[in-house]
């Protein structure tokens, strides 16, 4: 009797996760689709004008989508090499103590709340960007002055925030490379650097790619930190433009949006959710393949 009850209870606990994922998906689709019909798919997804509160409102979110794609890609493209080389340092170059120390620092970086990254970005990056903006766009008549809140700040913050993920996953996969490979390479006369770049990193490629995809997921979903540094206007994602990401659009307007504007924000949420699901599926496929290799 007790045995049976216990088994049923733990089964229910396990099934909760399935329910959670199903209901989140159902809600995102349910709430995100009405605006597609009410505004029109093409003028919503491919429109470039965002004037939700104007007398003749326009709800084009194309720039927001492109900003998320550009911001995420650039931060990952910059962050992955830095993270990978840091991981190489941790596993191949540093001694045990140094490695443990830096590993602890990386762990701490991962644990710092995103609002603190945002706050620091506001205080340190934005003023710097404003300085540059004044130099680069002195006399420009077309550039809207942003005061430093721009895409570039957001990309730097994102790059920093994905570093711990990339470092940890890369370090794990580099550690898993067999010692024989290194020994063989060194025995053939390759230098340590040649061994690292020509043998170890290629052997750890799939793990490093997994780290990069994880980074894409994190960067795509980050909201608060970049909302504090990216500015508040929907624009084409140029480095010195004030931009809105899918996530920051939600954070900054969900609080007051009404009616159709609110519906459109749910569509923004749905677009983000679809992107995230694609990343998740790619990630799970990569992990399965990595598992099959072992």
């Amino acid at each position: 009797m007790v045995e049976q009850t216990a088994k049923s209870i733990v089964t229910i606990c396990a099934v909760v996760t399935i329910f959670a994922v199903c209901s989140i998906t159902a809600y995102m689709v349910m709430k995100g689709t009405p605006a597609l019909k009410n505004v029109g798919v093409s003028s919503l997804l491919f429109g470039t004008s965002w004037k939700p509160t104007a007398a003749e409102p326009a709800y084009g979110i194309l720039y927001i989508i492109i900003t998320s794609i550009v911001g995420t890609s650039v931060s990952v493209l910059v962050g992955v090499p830095i993270g990978l080389l840091s991981a190489v340092f941790l596993t191949e170059v540093a001694g045990k103590k140094t490695s443990a120390f830096i590993g602890a620092a990386v762990e701490l970086l991962a644990a710092i709340p995103s609002v603190i990254y945002g706050l620091l970005g506001m205080m340190l990056l934005n003023p710097l960007m404003y300085k540059w903006e004044k130099i680069f766009f002195a006399g420009s008549k077309t550039h809207q002055v942003t005061g430093g809140s721009n895409l570039l700040s957001a990309i730097i913050v994102l790059m920093i925030m994905i570093l711990p993920t990339v470092i940890n996953v890369s370090a794990t996969s580099i550690k898993a490379v067999s010692k024989d490979l290194r020994a063989a390479s060194l025995a053939l006369g390759a230098s340590k650097m040649q061994t690292i770049f020509r043998v170890v990193i290629p052997a750890a490629k799939s793990g490093i790619m997994t780290g990069a995809v994880l980074g894409v997921g994190r960067a795509l979903g980050e909201a608060m930190a970049i909302n504090m540094v990216a500015g508040g206007a929907v624009n084409l994602p140029l480095p010195f433009n004030s931009v809105r990401f899918l996530t920051t659009q939600l954070v900054s307007e969900m609080g007051y949006a009404q009616g159709l504007h609110r519906q459109v924000l749910f569509t923004v949420g749905l677009v983000l959710y679809i992107f995230i699901m694609i990343v998740n599926l790619v990630l799970q496929k990569m992990r399965r393949e990595a598992g099959a290799d072992e």
Binding site: V16, I24, A111, G269, I276, N280
Partner: protein, 287 residues
């Protein structure tokens, strides 16, 4: 070695050192800067009073209470479900479709960003269930967010419990549930606690999932009944207050004060998990 090779090797080293140094310098800079900017705001009255123009006080006591309440409520809900799910997956389930589905769902859940949890929590717990902006809505939302974390850590801990223990208990005539309750869960306790501490860390640092679920009120509840009714009222955590202070209020003294408190908490949590891992090295005990 050729000269060209030597130069290339040297450049490789330089790049590797630069990148690794970057992470460490970054962390050091963040800690130094936050403390330099915020340490002066943090004192006893900052931690024990509520910001009030009338009384002329600046403080985050209300946000601290909200944070603690959300952490406690979330963990009260998550621990039974997370540990239960792990027990099912590790002790009862036979490999098959259901297990694959549960594992797929757990992976998916852990990949969903917090802003999506916030949206779902607002729609489902807040509107459909009518809980509005409240501590409870926030806790239920975060439950979904940290569930995979607890499940995974418990599962890992259960996996390291030696097979002999299970066989021994069963051989002595103990039932399966009795074995789980008296042998497996206690043996897996360090792993479970590590998961709980990690989850607490995530909740303390969380903001996007709470902005539209738990809201931003910073009033201090009065007495026990006040604490209970607080469950159904809006309550902003420290991170949410930091965000609002830095953006809409432009009150950077408070923002950096909170940042100092949060950094200290994060440091403590990190240290806690490290000490726990060193003290209860599960793999060492069982080997």
């Amino acid at each position: 070695m050729s000269k060209k090779r030597k130069i290339k090797d040297f450049l490789g080293y330089v790049m590797i050192y630069l990148c690794a140094g970057f992470s460490v310098l970054l962390l050091a800079a963040i800690i130094v800067y936050v403390f330099a900017k915020g340490a002066k705001s943090v004192n006893l009255s900052f931690l024990t009073s509520v910001t009030s123009v009338l009384k002329g006080t600046v403080g985050i006591a209300g946000n601290i209470v909200n944070t603690i309440m959300i952490v406690v409520m979330t963990m009260l809900i998550t621990i039974p479900f997370g540990v239960g799910a792990a027990i099912y997956l590790n002790e009862y389930a036979k490999p098959g479709k259901l297990v694959r589905l549960i594992e797929f769902a757990t992976e998916t859940l852990s990949g969903i960003p917090s802003i999506i949890f916030g949206l779902f929590g607002m729609m489902f717990f807040g509107q459909t269930l009518g809980l509005g902006y409240s501590v409870l809505t926030g806790a239920l939302t975060l439950f979904l967010m940290v569930l995979p974390l607890i499940t995974r850590n418990t599962q890992e801990a259960l996996k390291t419990v030696r097979e002999d223990y299970r066989q021994g208990a069963l051989g002595l005539g103990a039932g399966k549930w009795y074995t789980i309750r008296t042998i497996l869960i206690p043996s897996a306790m360090p792993g479970i606690i590590t998961g709980v501490i990690l989850a607490v860390g995530r909740i303390v640092g969380e903001s996007a999932a709470l902005l539209f679920t738990a809201g931003s009120a910073a009033v201090l509840p009065k007495g026990l009944s006040g604490l209970f009714s607080k469950l159904f009222q809006s309550g902003g955590t420290m991170t949410v207050e930091l965000y609002l202070a830095a953006t809409s209020e432009g009150d950077f003294d408070t923002a950096f004060g909170i940042a100092v408190v949060l950094l200290i908490l994060v440091l403590l949590i990190n240290l806690g998990t490290k000490m726990l891992a060193a003290k209860f090295d599960v793999t060492r005990i069982n080997r």
